[in-house]
Symmetry: none
Subunit: 367 residues, 2 copies
Amino acid sequence: MTKIKTPVVRNALPLNEILAGDCIEVMNSLPEGSVDLIFADPPYNLQLRGDLHRPDNSKVDAVDDAWDQFGSFAHYDQFTRDWLAAARRILKPNGAIWVIGSYHNVFRMGAELQNQGFWILNDVVWRKSNPMPNFRGKRLTNAHETLIWASKAEGAKYTFNYEALKSLNEGIQMRSDWVIPICNGGERLKDENGDKAHPTQKPEALLHRLIVGTTNPGDVVLDPFFGTGTSGAVAKMLGRDFIGIEREEAYREVAQKRLSKIRKFDREALEVSTSKRSEPRVPFGQLVERGMLRPGEELFSMNGRHKVKVRADGTLIGDDVKGSIHQVGAHLEGAPSCNGWTYWTFKRDGKQVPIDLLRQQIRAEMT
Amino acid sequence: MTKIKTPVVRNALPLNEILAGDCIEVMNSLPEGSVDLIFADPPYNLQLRGDLHRPDNSKVDAVDDAWDQFGSFAHYDQFTRDWLAAARRILKPNGAIWVIGSYHNVFRMGAELQNQGFWILNDVVWRKSNPMPNFRGKRLTNAHETLIWASKAEGAKYTFNYEALKSLNEGIQMRSDWVIPICNGGERLKDENGDKAHPTQKPEALLHRLIVGTTNPGDVVLDPFFGTGTSGAVAKMLGRDFIGIEREEAYREVAQKRLSKIRKFDREALEVSTSKRSEPRVPFGQLVERGMLRPGEELFSMNGRHKVKVRADGTLIGDDVKGSIHQVGAHLEGAPSCNGWTYWTFKRDGKQVPIDLLRQQIRAEMT
DNA sequence: CTTCCAACTGAATCCGTTA
DNA sequence: TTAACGGATTCAGTTGGAA
């Protein structure tokens, strides 16, 4: 898949920097449709500032008022609406967003994503291998957080590196539950007192999987709640550009220091497994043109049940059917579709050989 | 925790019956504050576009029933508001609710639970050990569903059998992620044609854990979307009373037949399904994601004859070969297969260390 | 009576390019 | 914009018949 780059817009973007300020204001100052991926880990313990109003503008008074809960949610929802709208504006049409949260806030984020027209692709469970136990024994150990992956709109062409994720999972399709330890040990950033520099630093392994799986090298990854910059650090390692936005100076400083030490992996290591879909298309007719198969030569179905003849124009003809290798295969099998390349075989030296072997020969010549 | 019983109310309840009709109307006809637990598995509002075929061309039997069709999010939200309000009214002050859903609907349910004053206690992930794969390779395998457990209000004294769940989990605190297979085999109810009687029958193991953990014997468990009655069947086995509400006559009949065969304390059948523990599979890619090995780092074969580089997706690249640790090892040795875990080593402090050591570290964390 | 293999199945928002 | 068409894509498990 080739990406259309728009140099003017790209150059206007402040790449690989940490921008100071309120993320909504900063995002609104960036050009529309300019970012490939947004990763957002928003706070959910918002302090209520100033007067709080219900949607009908009546004021919410007492804190322990029955409406307090509603009021808090209304406030949080407004915040969520605003930053998601700002994020959506700067996303490229084929861009995507990841958000992460716990049950305190993730349901409201998910609903608002849908309300704004984002199209949810998966929800992903980060299953912590070493969570904090529930000390009081009053609930289940809260051993996971939830991520939501969504495209900008229904039908958009999002990036998904299927084969790379399959490789990361030793040849089996990547699932929606990811087992990853929480961030501690040497990876956990400390301040000058030896205390953790940020309360919710995310593990690099989580970002690694997400960035490898849903971006390409050279993409722009923006994080509106940058914190200590895990998303930026992993993006940089993986040869992506990042944009961080962070309000707190202390976090910006920690993140800046961290990023200065990061080195990009070499190009060869960043190439990942690709799917067959990205290989060049070879028309079946080329096999005939090149004399690899002769007009009139017989092809046999893989299961041995059918026999057809090759025609000079690269179509096949059977007893009651003619058409492309795919159409004839589908018709004979009564199937909705058929991959003719793997369905048909020809005879060489008495052995049955799949015609896909000939396609591979042509592709090898094309390199 | 002792429960105050109110015999008058209890006697008014139609216990251990399946009530016909719309669940909102039926719930509104029941006495206020009379039910201990509600389990709800409402329609998910899947929005499926066309047909889906497996790679072998067989057609996926989709959930396309009329009861899962809603015109818009607004319609679905109204439906959710109404049934949740009806459910909340009939709940005892110290009662609780469980709802289950997927990313299509669970965020809207979770937000509405909070809006109505329910207090979320945990969200629980049902991790399916055998989910349906993603056949087109366009997204992650949707391998889980989400449950939300909530009390009627903040501060309510909900039931939580901490020790019972701990016992179910081999003496370790029960976590918020539960690994349970989907319902198939003998447990899956069939109609007279041998087809599945209900498209979304839930496994009894899921309900077993939930009812053991959050109710006491003698409690009343109500299910407004009864379907084939899994909640009722497990409640009956475990000595709880149930109330089922179901609109479709066909489902009521199947459920009634099922329930007539259930005997209380028929425990042994359930005990059979205890886990057979084997060593968890660790994909090599996890070592890369977690930074135990870096993309670009060199691995050396045990015999010292070969050197390769690690890529970001957990594959290896050598002079003329790339693939998994096993594939590359086999290729270089000209062997039909190769255990990459014992074949490859990396250098640490000048010494050669087998990569299997890193796998052992991860496994130790997973216990 | 086993063992083996082919066929089948499960809450799924599941294609991309060219004419 | 729509229609046609090339061709890529699956994991864990159960069932039932054959060997």
